[in-house]
Amino acid sequence: MCLGVPMKIESIDGKRGVGSYSGGEYDIRLDLIEQPKVGEYVMVHAGMALDKLDEDQARQTLEALREFDELSGRVS
């Protein structure tokens, strides 16, 4: 029940917005997003943006994983 895709907010009109994903633009609802801004990314499920995607957190996760040492299973 969790099929969701990340979309970039292209425009906002009250509680509605347009999100872009993989070459397409789709109508989305932004009722659950505090102060959405054009250019931010949100996770969209069944036409509803669930929350914002945090680029910093994403980068941190990826960086830690790049340092991942598979033998010890720890970040080196």
Partner: protein, 368 residues
């Protein structure tokens, strides 16, 4: 940042798989359970199961709304579909789920108006554009989807659309997890649903680690996410330190989404509801509040449905609990197939049984 691409990085997944194998070598056999239909899908789609070490078993739990929706709910939907002037609006997932004698797909073929929706708002639009019809939206999701339905109900109320109704079958996850562990299912760790968690946060899972010693990792849905979550759980088992950890930090906040929680609480209230295979679980569901009763299909439409027949031999419940496998089922592969499914585990294309069915050995040259 391309969120999908970055979390599909093959170099990272390769090293995580290595890490999983290395950690698994240091521990006893482990059983992990994922409780989200989309995690089941992701694991199948990325071929993850085969990459895991032999002492790690991955079970699919009751996390797919299709799988845990009772036959009774489908029978009600079928009964409503048969009423003249009613249009059923539903997510595609529910179309082929068998009720006692019929399904929505079959009703559509027989002439009922059944609309496949991409969002609950579409159903509201349908009601607005067709004032001569009663549009009944089938609400069967978990916390990921419930806020959307709540918003849709509020919007219908605001617009005075008395012909927009919801057949409520919503469920919430944490009480089901408790019922699962209480029922004797032996799990060493849960892969927790990332999108449900984006709404409810991380705290609702804490009782599992604190009271039952079962670790939980909230995971996203890309291959990196699932593999990292599995690795984190194995590390917990290796260190004997069950905890609630968040792998999906780019989306899930510890407190969850307050606006989502608020809109759910505004429109719905807790209820004791039945889960297929698990029976009635206290506080595991929602019902529409009195204030919005005008949009509750069961309170607004007088209808009766056929007596719900439980299919003899169907053990979907035990499969969902992780205590039986598809091969244990007397109906599997013979009387219950993807083309003619008996129970929900076979309906969902990546449900336990549908997935196992593909791997069945077939006599040479015989077509599926």
């Amino acid at each position: 940042m391309n969120f999908q691409e970055e979390f599909r990085n093959k170099d990272i997944t390769r090293r995580l798989i290595e890490g999983i194998r290395n950690t698994a070598q240091t521990i006893r056999p482990v059983k992990l359970m994922e409780v989200c239909g989309s995690h089941t899908m992701a694991i199948c789609r990325y071929g993850i199961r085969q990459l895991l070490p032999p002492n790690l078993r991955l079970l699919s739990g009751p996390g797919c709304p299709v799988c845990v929706t009772t036959g009774d709910y489908v029978d009600k939907a079928v009964a409503l579909a048969r009423i003249s002037g009613v249009t059923i609006s539903t997510f595609g997932d529910l179309m082929k789920v068998p009720g006692s004698t019929s399904s929505l797909d079959k009703e559509r073929a027989a002439g009922a108006r059944v609309h496949v929706a991409f969002s609950p708002m579409e159903a509201v639009e349908l009601a607005r554009a067709n004032s001569d019809r009663r549009v009944v939206f089938l609400g069967i999701g978990f916390e990921t989807t419930i806020p959307s339905v709540a918003v849709a109900i509020k919007e219908a109320a605001r617009q005075g659309l008395r012909n927009f109704l919801v057949l409520n079958g919503h469920k919430i996850m944490p009480p089901a997890l408790k019922a699962l562990v209480e029922s004797g299912t032996e799990i060493d760790g849960f892969i927790c649903p990332g999108h449900v968690s984006s709404i409810i946060g991380t705290r609702p899972y804490e009782f599992l680690a604190a009271d039952y010693g079962i670790g939980c990792v909230i995971a996203g849905f890309e291959p990196v996410d699932v593999l990292q979550a599995i690795h984190m759980l194995l590390q917990q088992v290796a260190a004997n330190k069950p905890a609630v950890e968040n792998q999906y930090t780019r989306l899930v906040r510890p407190e969850g989404n307050k606006a989502g929680q608020a809109v759910i609480a505004e429109v719905f209230e807790p209820a004791d509801v039945p889960w297929r295979g698990l029976g009635v679980i206290p506080g595991s569901g929602l019902q529409i509040r009195e204030q919005y009763a005008a949009h509750d299909a069961e309170r607004r439409i007088e209808f009766a449905h056929e007596e719900t027949i439980e299919k003899a031999g169907c053990i979907c419940g035990d499969i969902l609990k992780g205590i039986k496998t598809p091969e244990d089922c007397p109906l599997f592969g013979q009387h219950c197939t993807p083309v003619e499914p008996v129970g929900p585990c076979m309906v969902s294309s990546e449900g336990c049984c549908a997935a196992s069915y593909r791997y069945l050995e077939k006599p040479l040259g015989k077509k599926d």
